[in-house]
């Protein structure tokens, strides 16, 4: 009996170990590597790397092949390694309980700059940063906060944030202009700031379109004023994405923007069978998913670029704890090309969207969201 237990435990440990280091050694050269779209401006000039510098990354439970933000973050890390020959290491978390231990294992591994991907890692990063003041940390998608939700700023933690509301506004405007039924929908994975900011911008884009054109396009799944809406409850269960989207279709929606990582794929199948159109988020869904033919556009977050640039700063010894905020202006967020919908989007709608983009960049128009970093 004892023996068999050991066997099981051994097999499990082996499987877990394999899973943990499974995707570490490749360097993002696969098909989805191109998903970062517009920000391919890699000028691999040589840089002076501080001695002993090692850039590392911890994923959230989604893993590095989520066709979403973990994957984008990993691509930035891999690109930095390829461009400047920096030593890197990346570990994957399989559950929320892994974050702390994974960060500790990277510290033991000699990492000097550790990036946590996602809001869910914020508490673990804060704890590790306070315990290791000589190690630098980056945190994607979230600023730090104390247990009582007051903001926390640490000298050795750089938040990498994205004002996705700006790009989502353009997507909302596009959706309102393209809907045949006058109803569009959006839903999130979990009700957290980095998800809700997409929904805020999307909602504003629709409101703006209605004002400009005297239209009455309605949005399902998000009430910006009340900050309540549709959520599936996690970023894993794709079937829930299908059900929520089917619910929108039953109400007449024909364009849906899921903000839920892989759960969005469930939404895509419902839209495909129901004759609807998809708006993808984080990466360019036309390239990163196999639902390109129904993807109107994508609200892109250039996480890879932000990671790449922050590694450069840290590697040169120029680390600062000042937050990076991706905007339309600095290209940190953006709207993907229309691809297959190029011929279907009316020229005046496309021009109007470009116009708003310019106004946002100039600062003459601002997208308000209480989730703005």
């Amino acid at each position: 009996m004892k023996k068999s237990l050991v066997t099981v435990a051994g097999a499990t440990a082996l499987a877990l170990t394999l899973a943990a280091c499974g995707s570490a050694p490749d360097s993002g050269s696969d098909a989805t590597g191109e998903a970062t779209g517009g920000a391919e401006a890699t000028t691999a000039e040589a840089i002076d790397v501080v001695d002993g510098f090692k850039a590392c990354m911890v994923s959230d439970a989604g893993g590095y092949d989520d066709q979403s933000f973990n994957q984008s973050g990993k691509e930035g890390l891999d690109r930095a390694a390829a461009d400047w020959g920096i030593a890197t290491n990346a570990v994957e978390s399989t559950s929320d309980a892994d974050y702390g231990p994974n960060i500790d294992s990277l510290i033991d591994d000699g990492c000097t700059y550790i990036i946590g991907v996602g809001f869910l890692l914020a508490p673990a990063i804060a704890e590790a940063a306070q315990a290791n003041p000589d190690i630098e940390f980056g945190l994607i998608d979230s600023a730090l906060s104390n247990p009582d939700f007051s903001p926390l700023v640490l000298d050795n933690v750089k938040p990498l944030l994205f004002n996705t509301a700006e790009a989502a506004f353009l997507a909302g405007y596009a959706a309102a202009g393209m809907t045949q039924s006058g109803t569009v929908g959006t839903f999130g994975g979990l009700p957290i700031d980095s998800v809700e900011i997409f929904m805020d911008g999307f909602s504003d884009g629709i409101t703006q379109y209605n004002e400009d054109n005297g239209a009455s396009v309605t949005l399902l799944g998000w009430d910006k004023a009340a900050q309540t809406g549709s959520f599936t409850g996690d970023f894993d269960n794709q079937a829930n994405g299908t059900t929520v989207t089917q619910g929108f279709i039953d109400q007449g929606a024909d364009i849906v923007m899921p903000v839920a990582g892989p759960v969005g794929l469930g939404a895509a199948t419902a839209l495909q069978s129901g004759g609807g159109t998809l708006i993808w988020v984080d990466s360019d869904g036309f390239l990163s998913t196999d639902f390109g033919d129904i993807t109107l556009t994508s609200v892109m977050k250039q996480i890879g670029q932000a990671v790449h640039d922050s590694i450069k700063d840290a590697a040169e010894g120029n680390f600062s704890n000042e937050a990076y905020v991706g905007t339309l202006e600095n290209g940190g967020v953006g709207l993907a090309p229309w691809h297959d919908f190029e011929s279907k989007v009316p020229a005046e709608l496309s021009a109007k969207i470009d116009d708003y983009k310019q106004q946002i960049i100039d600062g003459t128009f601002t997208v308000e969201s209480e989730n703005t970093p």
Partner: protein, 429 residues
Amino acid sequence: MTATLDAPTPAAATAAAALPAPPPAYRTPIVLAVLAVVTAVMALATPAGATNVRISTNTDLFQIPVFAVPGRATAWLLTVLVLAAAAYAFVLARGRRRIPVWVIVVAGVCALLALLVLISAGKTQVVPVTGLLAGTLFLATPLVFGALSGVVCERVGIVNIAIEGQLLAGAFAAAVVASMAGSAYVGLIAAPLAGVAVGALLAFFSIRYQVNQIIVGVVLNVLVVGLTSFLFSTVLRENPQLNSRTALPTLPIPLLSEIPLVGPVLFRQNLLVYLMYAIVIALQILIFRSRWGLRLRAVGEHPKAADTVGIDVNRTRWRNTLLGGAVAGLGGAFFTVASGLAFGKEMTAGRGFIALAAMILGRWSPTGAVAAAVVFGLSDQLRILMATLAVPVPSQFLLMLPYVVTILAVAGFAGKVRAPAAEGIPYVK
């Protein structure tokens, strides 16, 4: 839901003959009375205006147009019905008679409809009844398969905590094999085999080596999560053609699928759902009416007695644990080929554990498991509808709803449940 059905147990009946009559059992009437009060509160809160109801889909033969029902009036009518059910139950309980199931079902459905009226009255959105029911069945499908697997395994005395792992292994195998073969149907053959493999590990350790079955089950779940995630990140990532999307086609049954309301829900489905109907009916009959079922239950209740009459206890356990694994594995196909999706990491997201709760709530019987799975699917679906209709409740509370229902259902309504007596105990001669 079925909590109070067997109120006069045989023991109580014999006791009643000798002693003064036992006090009437007022539990069910009280629960129904509380439900009536809740319904009345909902009716009071219902805003003025009409509820738009749609009960046909766009592809129906007979189109029933969207119609409006007056919100408040309907809510009060439903309240009266629940009240009537509660009163009838009181009368029955006073006379120490059994309260039939339909009374409870009618009261529950009326209260549910009152909730739907409450959240939709005065809104422009419709209540898509067909969509609601279809979504319920969709969400209940993996729970039914998982719970049936649990029923088979636990009835024979093996605790199957590994349902989650079996679902996940089935989902993985179905996606990969269907992609390789280019046919979703081949995936339906592979899924139960993957479930059998996990079931075999469970049987091997718990029967052959008598390891604590709960520990083995938990460890197997972790093993399957680790293994499928590893293969997903390595093999499937490098060979995307091994994890492409294949979908089981929808096979509408002629005539039946044209019945308004129930037709599109029950008979416009894919093969996996039809298999589910067949398996539920077959297991319900076989477990309680066949020689195999009698032996299964005997081994789970009193293995020593079963052994004395010549039943090979451990062989029976082995076979049925494998069978249970096959059922759960087949259910895993829901997540990939039956939903038209490729495999994704940990995509079963804890459904196996909810299936376990459905099995307990369903009192270890196939039809009970179906009823419980439908209740869970419906609560999930209600949450989704409430969010779509922009009910002013914080999103976090809505997300809790299915789990609150699970806890209430298992703790409250399941009442006294009795697991098979020899469950979890290894049999050594």
